[in-house]
Amino acid sequence: MPSTLTLAPAPPSEAAEAVRLEVRQFLAEELAAGSFTTHVDTWLSGVDPAFSRKLGERGWLGMTWPKEYGGHERTAMERYAVTEELLAAGAPVAAHWIADRQSGPNLLRYGTETQRKEILPRIAAGECFFVIGMSEPDSGSDLASIRTKAVRNADGDWVVDGAKVWTSNAHHSHYAIVLVRTAPADPSARHAGMSQLLVDLSLPGITINPIRILDGGHHFNEVVFDSVVVPGDMLLGEEGAGWHQVTAELAFERSGPERILSTFPLLAAFARRASTDAELATLGRLSARLLALRQLSIRIAAALDRGELPDIPAALVKDVGTTFEADVAEEIRRVVDVPASLDSPDPLGRALAEAQLHQPGYTLRGGTNEILRGIVARGLGLR
């Protein structure tokens, strides 16, 4: 196998299994108390700041970060166990998801001491939420074509103009990490001249407009920046290094358990009733696919923990994983006769409806599967 795709096995972790059981216990109690109900794709749609704070209180956010920044210095395997338990239960994790998964690690890597001290402890407490500011109305897969720009004014502050889209839960978030042009586009060096800015979403000049998805849910937004003055010290990392920083961020964004488990609550609803040979065979096939993806995803988490940047396996696991997420609903439909409806009296019918209406998103968000396959092809030495 090409070395770009080879990953060392993750060592077994007793600590991860221990915290896994704690999370399971916590979730069982929360479910019994009615503090949440299970849904499909809750890392997009399940916004519940109170629930996020509970996780923060238990030390399950910012788990791997240094203690001086509010973190808990636990291993990537422990964090992996916590996140997959939350997703498998369909718990409402959307409020803090982006901040905990990628914005925090991004700040840890590139942020100034002040930025880290100020923001990371609040993320770890489940009190500070982030949104990704990458895509634009005219820049989707071709991210390097972004036009949102930031220009330094006489005071050394940044003046930002432009718009970002698909900004999940911007209306519940405190900050955006916004990829901007800080130098004019240069056709001969497309990836140069971009930077990341840490933008407080309460600044004057920012408008957040809802964009509804197929089930009517309001998760996406358009965030418009109209001469927004961002303090000069809110540059994240290096001026001009935005593309490199975004690429590193995407390895965290692409390989986690949420690229496999978005539709697990549907699979679980199906598993609770599967009994015929055909149903059991379908459940077994889907389970085998999930187990393989999980092994891959865990290996990537271990590689990230070792300080490697497995961007090519991360693209691969997201391609295969999100295809699986979409297939779950389709495979189950083939062996049950339950109409999908958000109003179904049957939990399986509701889960099928949620999975179906969210399905187009799985293979688009975080880089379309076409883009991902291009990255894998590069890893195979084809381009």
Partner: protein
């Protein structure tokens, strides 16, 4: 991979290099010369303890031998010997037949053992007619048992799999048999095939990437066409997923943990990848890959065969599904590997 395994793999490759894979025919059902050289080098006993007559070494060494031979389309019953029948015989407390004599396995058919004699039919036996000994699942007076039978002098039916490898049956009529507990024979067989499928799929991917880089059409290599790149990326996705899961199942066996469900998952996943990998490999190779002149068939026909052996994806998927079904599917699932 450890230094020990690197050495084992290098030795197997060196021997394989002297034996171009051949199209198996009625006159030549296996590669007896390859077997003789492997046996001579002690490679038909790797992973089996020396005190039992094996060559010693770890499970990982045996897996490396099997994977290397699978990737090289070696027509020899080494997977059956090192990963299935050999360890199962020892686990059942029986004496291991000499490791320079081929040993095979049967998990289907209808066999009955009574008073040390076995009768009935063993079906779908890989290397039937080639093997000296057979390890089979049979019904005993108190339920299922493992039976070890000398089949060296028995006639086997001349059926073959899609690669031309023997997959025949034996009719046994009161043949002497040693018996012991059946243990995890079925799971071991499924895992062995998954190991072979994973290794073959990795090689098929490498061959296809290489071919796409060499074959020029419309003035550029196939690898430069986005449509081809997408197909190769899909193949890589399957191959990488299979190898991660099969590795994890092997590690579970190595730790001595219950194997059945991990082997089931590995076999189901590896079997499911065959269609994608073999189909796209043939598509990218074009008409030349569809001929006996090209090497591709040695592995694709084996992949189509191995996925049917040791229980199909459907059979194992039901086993896996039954284990996951119930009120608490998530803990059941993540406990498997």
């Amino acid at each position: 991979m450890s230094g020990e395994q690197d050495l084992v793999v290098a030795t197997v490759r060196e021997i394989l290099a002297r034996h171009e894979p051949v199209k198996l025919t009625a006159e030549r059902r296996w590669d007896a010369q390859l077997w003789a050289e492997l046996a001579e080098a002690g490679l038909t006993g790797v992973g089996l303890p020396e005190e039992a007559g094996g060559s010693g070494g770890e499970l990982a060494d045996a897996v490396a031998v099997v994977a290397t031979l699978a990737a090289g389309a070696g027509a020899v019953p080494v997977a059956e010997q090192l990963l299935v029948a050999g360890p199962a015989v020892l686990a059942a407390g029986l004496a291991l037949p000499p490791v320079d004599e081929p040993l095979t396995v049967s998990v289907t058919g209808a066999l009955r053992v009574e008073d040390g004699r076995i009768s009935g039919t063993a079906t779908d036996v890989p290397w039937a007619g080639v093997a000296r000994h057979l390890v089979a699942v049979a019904d005993g007076p108190d339920g299922e048992v493992l039976a070890l039978v000398d089949v060296g002098d028995l006639e086997a039916s001349d059926a073959v799999d899609l690669a031309g490898q023997p997959r025949g049956s034996y009719v046994l009529d009161g043949v002497p048999a040693q018996v012991g507990p059946v243990g995890e024979l079925r799971a071991r067989f499924a895992l062995a095939r998954a190991v072979q499928l994973s290794a073959a799929a990795q090689t098929v991917l490498a061959w296809t990437v290489q071919y796409a880089g060499e074959r020029v059409q419309f003035g550029r290599p196939l690898a430069k066409f986005q449509g081809i790149q997408v197909q190769l990326a899909q193949m890589a996705g399957e191959v990488t997923a299979v190898s991660a899961l099969v590795d994890a199942a092997v590690q579970r066996l190595d730790r001595g943990e219950p194997l059945e469900l991990a082997a089931a998952a590995g076999k189901v996943r590896a079997g499911a990848a065959v269609d994608v990998v073999a189909r796209l490999a043939h598509q990218v190779h074009g008409a030349i890959g569809f001929t006996l002149e090209h090497r591709l068939h040695h592995l694709t026909t084996r992949m189509w065969s191995w996925r049917d052996d040791a229980g199909s994806e459907t059979t194992w998927a039901r086993v896996l599904g039954a284990a996951v079904a119930g009120d608490d599917p998530w803990p059941a699932l993540v406990g498997i590997v």
